[in-house]
């Protein structure tokens, strides 16, 4: 707390204040602080740096969520655009070693959560200060081995089978479409084993479920089956914008992509659609986590509690297109609104455990498969 306020002061708040006080208008300072520059007045007191995925996510949060939160709590949010994947985890960890916190609380993917836990990067949450956390679905609460809470479900999202409606008048029904020889050179797939979750998709589609990945033989089966679709892939993408543009134009008319963003693109009139295959969409989620280097732990608790409220989860579903992390019955989402962000088909849940215990081996096999 003290360090946060000192930092903001050196950024201009202090000198401004000193100048005005020197003019002998202390009363006016208070008046201006409240009426004219509410941000400055609050910045001196409470500022929380929140990391969310850059681009569309950050824009939506800045527009629909953060202003309401500031109004309700008096805490100013300083949004930080974080890169997807594990890049942000690496930056947070390197910064924490230097006792720096580029963001106090960040939205982290599940694989990044686990890796951060292995390095004890996350400061534990005190659930007694977060009453609304009890509403969050139990599997979306991350815990250290000793039971301390390291992360709390922020949002869930689906990765589904997406198609260009001009190239495919009929939507595909199964993930097996990725293997169809008719789709040669037509697919865009995520380039990393730990964010594409294609091993799970393969296991669910051809081997009866992700349990098949329990053994090394099962994992090798999935790799072998996956290598059969290589000829269909035109682009293995790390950069989402690259695939999204190609999908909209029809250059790459099929692939895996985020359900929420695809829905928004379709709503904007682009010829794209997102389909939940009969084997289920991939259900991934982000958790709120606080780096151990943060000095704003108290504010982070207030923030996370606010985000877990049913009306905020519903607001996220409506405005950002994410699936709620709490039981939908607690929200006032209509069936139609819920269907827009989720599906009744049981989802494919990624095997996060594998990406921690066997991450290097899986990564090596994966790279050899797509590069070789």
């Amino acid at each position: 707390m003290t360090e946060t306020s000192q930092k903001t002061r050196t950024h201009g708040g202090f000198s401004r204040r000193a100048l005005l006080a020197g003019a002998g208008t202390l009363a006016a300072t208070a008046a201006i602080g409240v009426a004219g520059f509410p941000h400055i007045a609050r910045a001196q007191a409470k500022t929380l740096k929140v990391g969310v995925y850059g681009g569309y996510f950050k824009e939506s949060f800045e527009k629909h969520i953060f202003p309401e939160f500031s109004k309700a709590t008096g805490i100013t949010v300083e949004p930080v655009a974080e890169p997807t994947g594990e890049a942000w985890l690496v930056q947070l960890e390197q910064a924490a070693r230097a006792r720096q916190a580029p963001a106090d609380v960040s939205m982290m993917s599940q694989v990044a959560m686990l890796k951060g836990m292995a390095a004890e990067l996350w400061a534990p949450f005190d659930l007694s200060k977060i009453p609304n956390a009890s509403k969050v679905l139990p599997h979306l609460i991350n815990k250290y081995p000793d039971g301390k809470v390291s992360g709390i479900g922020a949002v869930s999202w689906y990765i589904t089978l997406v198609t260009n409606t001009k190239a495919y008048p009929e939507p595909p029904t199964s993930w097996a479409a990725l293997w169809d020889p008719a789709n040669k050179e037509k697919l865009g797939l995520l380039a990393l084993v730990s964010n594409s979750f294609l091993l799970e998709v393969t296991a669910a589609t051809f081997f009866g479920g992700t349990k098949h990945l329990d053994t090394e033989q099962g994992q090798l089966d999935a790799f072998k089956k996956l290598s059969e679709l290589k000829n269909n892939v035109k682009l293995w993408y790390r950069d989402e914008a690259q695939f999204e543009a190609a999908l909209k134009s029809g250059e790459i008319p099929m692939g895996q992509y985020y359900h929420d963003v695809t829905g928004l693109a379709a709503a904007d009139g682009n010829p794209v659609r997102s389909t939940f295959p009969k084997e289920g969409g991939i259900l991934d989620s982000g958790s709120w986590a606080v780096t151990r280097a943060s000095k704003a732990g108290d504010l982070a608790h207030v923030f996370v509690d606010y985000m877990c409220q049913p009306q905020i989860q519903a607001l996220l579903s409506r405005k950002v297109g994410t699936a709620p992390t709490i039981d939908r019955k607690l929200t006032d989402l209509t069936d139609k609104e819920f269907a827009a962000v989720s599906s009744d088909i049981p989802p494919i849940i990624p095997r996060y455990d594998l990406y921690q215990t066997k991450s290097d081996w899986l990564n090596q096999k994966w790279t050899e498969m797509i590069v070789g």
């Binding site: 890049a87 890796k115 292995a118 950069d239 991450s359 990564n363 797509i370």
Partner: protein, 284 residues
């Protein structure tokens, strides 16, 4: 200006600043990288200080050998093509009237201001089926239907050469501008054709410049990691792409550092060999 060798501390002092910069921005970071490369990877986590060679061992496989040779081959090809185009171009450029030269140089400098991302996206659009150059060929009746030319090796090569070209011209420019045009005129007077004069007089006289420029473009292309992802297929991913994957996405700093150290050593060795070969020829 002092013509004799510097003796006192004060006379040596001008090199202190560059030396300091070299230490701060090259020696220290590179030493840190070497240190990290022998640290122990914690699977599913980060790394811990240690002294192990397992990161180097993991690199010594046919798979990484293949990626390494592809990266070196690609960088070599880019260097050869870029210098091959830029040398005759610059040779013509320095003979243009001054205002025209300035216009060309400003144009080339403006290309330098483009980021790698913009270059990559521009080329992938230019080579796409839906909006690309093949649509123009179809309109002209040269092709039956539009085709997608990217991602492919050709697209990657084009993108990298495009990116390297302005640097190449700017490095060649001073040497070619200083080159004495009377040498060519003498050759022509003695009966050599323009082409023959170019290859037997200009190129040999500027051989050192050409070698130095080629090495610079080679090293420049070796570090490219964005264009191979945007314009190439997975088999065209360079070692730099895999280093990025390890460092950024797998949080495996020790392995990324080991690969980077290896890449630096191999390219230094190649540059050394090229310089050595150049010197031998000079002696002969």
């Amino acid at each position: 200006m002092i013509r004799r060798a510097p003796r006192t501390f004060a006379e040596h002092s001008p090199i202190l600043f560059p030396a300091l910069m070299l230490v701060v921005f090259f020696v220290i970071p590179f030493s840190l990288m070497i240190a990290v490369s022998v640290f122990r990877r914690v699977p599913g986590g980060f790394y811990e200080p240690d002294f192990v060679f397992s990161n180097y061992e993991r690199f010594l496989t046919t798979f990484f050998g293949g990626v390494m040779s592809f990266s070196l081959g690609l960088a070599g090809l880019v260097a050869a093509v870029a210098v091959g185009i830029a040398f005759p171009f610059t040779y013509r450029l320095v003979r243009l009237p001054r205002p025209n030269q300035i216009r060309w140089l400003v144009f080339l400098l403006s290309i330098l201001s483009l980021s790698e991302v913009i270059i990559g996206f521009a080329w992938s659009t230019l080579l796409s089926r839906t909006a690309g150059i093949t649509n123009l060929f179809v309109a002209l009746g040269l092709m039956a239907e539009p085709q997608s030319l990217s991602p492919s090796f050709g697209a990657l090569l084009a993108g990298l050469v495009y990116q390297a070209f302005p640097y190449t011209v700017l490095v060649l420019y001073p040497a070619l501008a200083r080159f004495d045009p009377y040498l060519v005129e003498a050759a022509r007077t003695l009966g050599a054709s323009p082409l023959r004069a170019f290859f037997t007089v200009v190129v040999p006289a500027l051989r050192n410049t050409i070698v130095a420029t080629t090495i610079m473009v080679f090293v420049f292309a070796l570090g490219s990691y964005l264009l191979p992802q945007l314009l190439g297929r997975p088999q065209h991913w360079t070692l730099s792409v895999l280093i990025t994957d390890q460092a950024i996405y797998q949080s495996n700093m020790p392995f990324a550092a080991a690969m980077a150290v290896f890449l630096v050593l191999v390219s230094l060795a190649l540059v050394g060999l090229a310089l050595l070969a150049g010197r031998r020829e000079e002696v002969a």
